[in-house]
Protein backbone atom coordinates (compact mmCIF):
# COMPACT_ATOMS: atom_id res chain seq x y z
CA UNK A 1 0.00 0.00 0.00
CA UNK A 2 0.99 3.63 -0.38
CA UNK A 3 1.78 6.11 2.36
CA UNK A 4 1.68 9.82 1.54
CA UNK A 5 4.39 11.78 3.31
CA UNK A 6 3.87 15.46 4.23
CA UNK A 7 6.39 18.09 3.10
CA UNK A 8 8.35 18.39 6.39
CA UNK A 9 8.97 14.65 6.68
CA UNK A 10 10.17 14.05 3.14
CA UNK A 11 13.72 14.83 4.17
CA UNK A 12 13.58 11.48 5.99
CA UNK A 13 12.17 9.54 3.01
CA UNK A 14 14.85 10.59 0.55
CA UNK A 15 12.56 13.29 -0.81
CA UNK A 16 9.78 10.88 -1.74
CA UNK A 17 6.25 12.21 -1.34
CA UNK A 18 4.76 8.72 -1.54
CA UNK A 19 6.33 5.47 -0.41
CA UNK A 20 5.12 1.93 -0.92
CA UNK A 21 5.11 -0.43 2.05
CA UNK A 22 4.16 -4.03 2.70
CA UNK A 23 1.96 -5.70 5.30
CA UNK A 24 -1.71 -6.43 5.84
CA UNK A 25 -2.59 -3.92 8.58
CA UNK A 26 -1.93 -0.33 9.52
CA UNK A 27 0.50 -1.54 12.18
CA UNK A 28 2.41 -3.54 9.57
CA UNK A 29 2.50 -0.61 7.18
CA UNK A 30 3.80 1.86 9.77
CA UNK A 31 6.32 -0.70 11.03
CA UNK A 32 7.57 -1.20 7.49
CA UNK A 33 7.75 2.56 6.99
CA UNK A 34 9.83 3.21 10.10
CA UNK A 35 12.05 0.20 9.42
CA UNK A 36 12.85 1.50 5.95
CA UNK A 37 13.12 5.11 7.11
CA UNK A 38 14.18 4.90 10.78
CA UNK A 39 14.65 8.67 11.17
CA UNK A 40 10.89 9.04 10.82
CA UNK A 41 10.22 7.23 14.09
CA UNK A 42 11.13 10.13 16.35
CA UNK A 43 8.96 12.47 14.30
CA UNK A 44 5.90 10.24 14.44
CA UNK A 45 6.12 8.73 17.92
CA UNK A 46 6.90 9.88 21.45
CA UNK A 47 9.67 8.27 23.48
CA UNK A 48 6.96 5.99 24.92
CA UNK A 49 6.04 4.81 21.46
CA UNK A 50 2.73 6.68 21.23
CA UNK A 51 1.72 8.55 18.10
CA UNK A 52 2.55 12.22 18.70
CA UNK A 53 -0.59 14.21 19.44
CA UNK A 54 -0.16 16.55 16.48
CA UNK A 55 0.39 13.74 13.97
CA UNK A 56 -2.77 12.62 12.21
CA UNK A 57 -2.79 9.45 10.18
CA UNK A 58 -5.67 8.69 7.86
CA UNK A 59 -6.55 5.39 6.23
CA UNK A 60 -8.10 6.66 3.02
CA UNK A 61 -10.60 9.20 4.45
CA UNK A 62 -10.72 7.94 8.05
CA UNK A 63 -8.68 9.03 11.07
CA UNK A 64 -7.11 5.81 12.34
CA UNK A 65 -7.71 6.90 15.95
CA UNK A 66 -11.44 6.49 15.35
CA UNK A 67 -11.39 3.22 13.46
CA UNK A 68 -12.98 0.39 15.52
CA UNK A 69 -9.76 -1.61 15.40
CA UNK A 70 -7.48 1.42 15.22
CA UNK A 71 -3.97 0.45 14.05
CA UNK A 72 -4.93 -3.23 13.93
CA UNK A 73 -7.27 -2.47 11.02
CA UNK A 74 -6.61 -4.74 8.07
CA UNK A 75 -5.45 -3.12 4.86
CA UNK A 76 -5.17 -4.04 1.21
CA UNK A 77 -2.84 -3.02 -1.58
CA UNK A 78 -5.28 -0.37 -2.84
CA UNK A 79 -5.58 1.39 0.52
CA UNK A 80 -3.68 4.59 1.18
CA UNK A 81 -2.34 6.03 4.39
CA UNK A 82 -1.79 9.77 4.69
CA UNK A 83 0.34 11.34 7.39
CA UNK A 84 -0.73 14.91 8.07
CA UNK A 85 0.58 17.04 10.95
CA UNK A 86 -1.99 19.39 12.44
CA UNK A 87 -2.31 23.08 11.56
CA UNK A 88 -3.50 25.41 14.29
CA UNK A 89 -2.58 28.53 16.21
CA UNK A 90 -3.86 31.93 17.15
CA UNK A 91 -2.85 35.12 18.86
Amino acid sequence: MKIHIPTPLRQYTKGQQTVTVGGTSITDALQDLTTNYPELRNHLYTGEGKLRSFVNIYLNDDDIRYLPEKEATKTGDDDELTIIPSIAGGN
Binding site: T7, I87, A88, G89, G90
Partner: protein, 154 residues
Amino acid sequence: MLKLSHADYDALRAHGEETYPHECCGVLLGKNDADGNQVHKIVRAGNTRTDRAHDRYNIAPEELIRVQRQARGLGLDIVGFYHSHPDHPAQWSKTDFDEAHWVGCSYIITSVEHGKATLSNSFLLTGTGEEDKKFVDEQVQVVAGEAGSAKENV
Protein backbone atom coordinates in the same frame (compact mmCIF):
# COMPACT_ATOMS: atom_id res chain seq x y z
CA MET B 1 12.53 34.22 1.06
CA LEU B 2 8.86 33.63 0.30
CA LYS B 3 7.63 34.57 -3.16
CA LEU B 4 4.00 34.97 -4.08
CA SER B 5 1.96 36.81 -6.67
CA HIS B 6 0.19 40.09 -6.08
CA ALA B 7 -3.12 38.33 -6.67
CA ASP B 8 -2.44 35.71 -3.99
CA TYR B 9 -1.03 38.28 -1.58
CA ASP B 10 -4.13 40.45 -1.98
CA ALA B 11 -6.43 37.43 -1.73
CA LEU B 12 -5.06 36.14 1.56
CA ARG B 13 -5.27 39.63 3.07
CA ALA B 14 -8.84 40.05 1.77
CA HIS B 15 -9.69 36.72 3.38
CA GLY B 16 -8.65 38.14 6.76
CA GLU B 17 -10.86 41.17 6.21
CA GLU B 18 -13.82 39.00 5.23
CA THR B 19 -13.65 36.83 8.33
CA TYR B 20 -12.93 39.72 10.72
CA PRO B 21 -13.36 39.73 13.71
CA HIS B 22 -12.55 36.05 13.37
CA GLU B 23 -9.28 34.51 12.25
CA CYS B 24 -9.04 33.24 8.69
CA CYS B 25 -6.70 30.46 7.58
CA GLY B 26 -5.51 28.84 4.41
CA VAL B 27 -2.81 26.82 2.70
CA LEU B 28 0.02 27.89 0.39
CA LEU B 29 0.73 25.51 -2.49
CA GLY B 30 3.89 25.80 -4.50
CA LYS B 31 7.47 24.70 -4.75
CA ASN B 32 10.56 24.92 -2.61
CA ASP B 33 13.80 25.75 -4.36
CA ALA B 34 17.19 27.27 -3.57
CA ASP B 35 15.56 30.70 -3.14
CA GLY B 36 12.97 29.44 -0.67
CA ASN B 37 9.26 28.78 -0.93
CA GLN B 38 7.44 29.92 -4.05
CA VAL B 39 3.66 30.08 -3.87
CA HIS B 40 1.75 29.10 -7.01
CA LYS B 41 -1.71 28.90 -5.50
CA ILE B 42 -3.45 29.65 -2.23
CA VAL B 43 -6.36 27.61 -0.93
CA ARG B 44 -8.79 28.98 1.62
CA ALA B 45 -9.60 26.72 4.55
CA GLY B 46 -12.31 26.79 7.16
CA ASN B 47 -11.52 27.66 10.76
CA THR B 48 -12.88 24.87 12.94
CA ARG B 49 -12.28 26.82 16.19
CA THR B 50 -15.77 28.24 16.31
CA ASP B 51 -15.54 28.29 20.11
CA ARG B 52 -12.99 31.13 20.00
CA ALA B 53 -12.49 32.03 16.35
CA HIS B 54 -11.47 35.58 17.31
CA ASP B 55 -8.08 34.37 18.56
CA ARG B 56 -7.64 30.74 17.46
CA TYR B 57 -7.62 28.80 14.24
CA ASN B 58 -7.49 25.17 13.28
CA ILE B 59 -7.72 23.50 9.90
CA ALA B 60 -9.49 20.14 9.93
CA PRO B 61 -7.11 17.33 8.95
CA GLU B 62 -9.72 16.07 6.48
CA GLU B 63 -9.56 19.41 4.70
CA LEU B 64 -5.77 19.35 4.76
CA ILE B 65 -5.78 15.93 3.15
CA ARG B 66 -8.08 17.20 0.40
CA VAL B 67 -5.75 20.15 -0.16
CA GLN B 68 -2.71 17.86 -0.20
CA ARG B 69 -4.41 15.69 -2.84
CA GLN B 70 -5.18 18.81 -4.84
CA ALA B 71 -1.54 19.87 -4.59
CA ARG B 72 -0.37 16.45 -5.75
CA GLY B 73 -2.70 16.66 -8.74
CA LEU B 74 -1.20 20.01 -9.68
CA GLY B 75 2.38 18.84 -9.20
CA LEU B 76 2.74 21.17 -6.22
CA ASP B 77 3.55 20.78 -2.53
CA ILE B 78 2.18 22.37 0.61
CA VAL B 79 4.82 25.04 1.25
CA GLY B 80 3.07 27.06 3.95
CA PHE B 81 -0.02 28.40 5.61
CA TYR B 82 -1.59 31.73 6.35
CA HIS B 83 -3.86 33.08 9.04
CA SER B 84 -4.97 36.43 10.40
CA HIS B 85 -4.66 38.14 13.76
CA PRO B 86 -7.74 40.32 14.29
CA ASP B 87 -6.72 43.48 16.16
CA HIS B 88 -3.41 41.89 17.06
CA PRO B 89 0.12 42.31 15.64
CA ALA B 90 1.38 40.36 12.64
CA GLN B 91 3.75 38.46 14.89
CA TRP B 92 3.71 34.80 15.82
CA SER B 93 2.34 34.01 19.26
CA LYS B 94 3.25 31.27 21.70
CA THR B 95 0.17 29.37 20.51
CA ASP B 96 1.30 29.75 16.89
CA PHE B 97 4.70 28.39 17.81
CA ASP B 98 3.44 25.52 19.95
CA GLU B 99 1.07 24.44 17.19
CA ALA B 100 3.56 24.80 14.32
CA HIS B 101 4.81 21.43 13.11
CA TRP B 102 5.52 21.88 9.41
CA VAL B 103 9.29 22.44 9.41
CA GLY B 104 10.44 24.09 6.19
CA CYS B 105 7.08 25.74 5.64
CA SER B 106 6.22 29.44 5.67
CA TYR B 107 3.63 30.83 8.05
CA ILE B 108 2.14 34.15 6.93
CA ILE B 109 0.34 36.21 9.56
CA THR B 110 -1.75 39.23 8.62
CA SER B 111 -2.80 41.77 11.20
CA VAL B 112 -6.36 42.96 10.61
CA GLU B 113 -7.07 46.18 12.50
CA HIS B 114 -10.73 47.18 12.79
CA GLY B 115 -11.53 45.09 9.72
CA LYS B 116 -8.70 46.37 7.56
CA ALA B 117 -5.62 44.27 6.72
CA THR B 118 -2.45 46.08 7.75
CA LEU B 119 0.87 44.25 8.05
CA SER B 120 1.54 40.78 6.66
CA ASN B 121 4.66 39.02 7.87
CA SER B 122 6.05 35.60 7.11
CA PHE B 123 7.93 33.26 9.40
CA LEU B 124 9.81 30.20 8.25
CA LEU B 125 9.68 27.24 10.63
CA THR B 126 13.24 25.92 10.77
CA GLY B 127 14.94 23.05 12.60
CA THR B 128 14.62 19.30 12.38
CA GLY B 129 11.65 18.69 14.65
CA GLU B 130 9.85 19.56 17.87
CA GLU B 131 13.00 19.71 19.96
CA ASP B 132 14.84 22.38 18.00
CA LYS B 133 12.22 24.11 15.86
CA LYS B 134 12.14 27.88 15.68
CA PHE B 135 10.46 30.63 13.68
CA VAL B 136 12.75 32.81 11.58
CA ASP B 137 11.63 36.11 10.05
CA GLU B 138 11.26 35.61 6.33
CA GLN B 139 11.32 38.24 3.61
CA VAL B 140 8.18 38.29 1.47
CA GLN B 141 8.60 39.09 -2.20
CA VAL B 142 5.38 39.98 -3.99
CA VAL B 143 5.69 39.56 -7.74
CA ALA B 144 3.53 40.50 -10.69
CA GLY B 145 1.75 37.53 -12.26
CA GLU B 146 3.02 34.09 -11.26
CA ALA B 147 5.57 33.81 -8.45
CA GLY B 148 8.55 33.79 -10.76
CA SER B 149 9.96 37.23 -11.50
CA ALA B 150 10.99 39.55 -8.72
CA LYS B 151 9.21 42.87 -8.46
CA GLU B 152 8.49 44.18 -5.02
CA ASN B 153 9.49 43.40 -1.46
CA VAL B 154 7.24 43.96 1.51
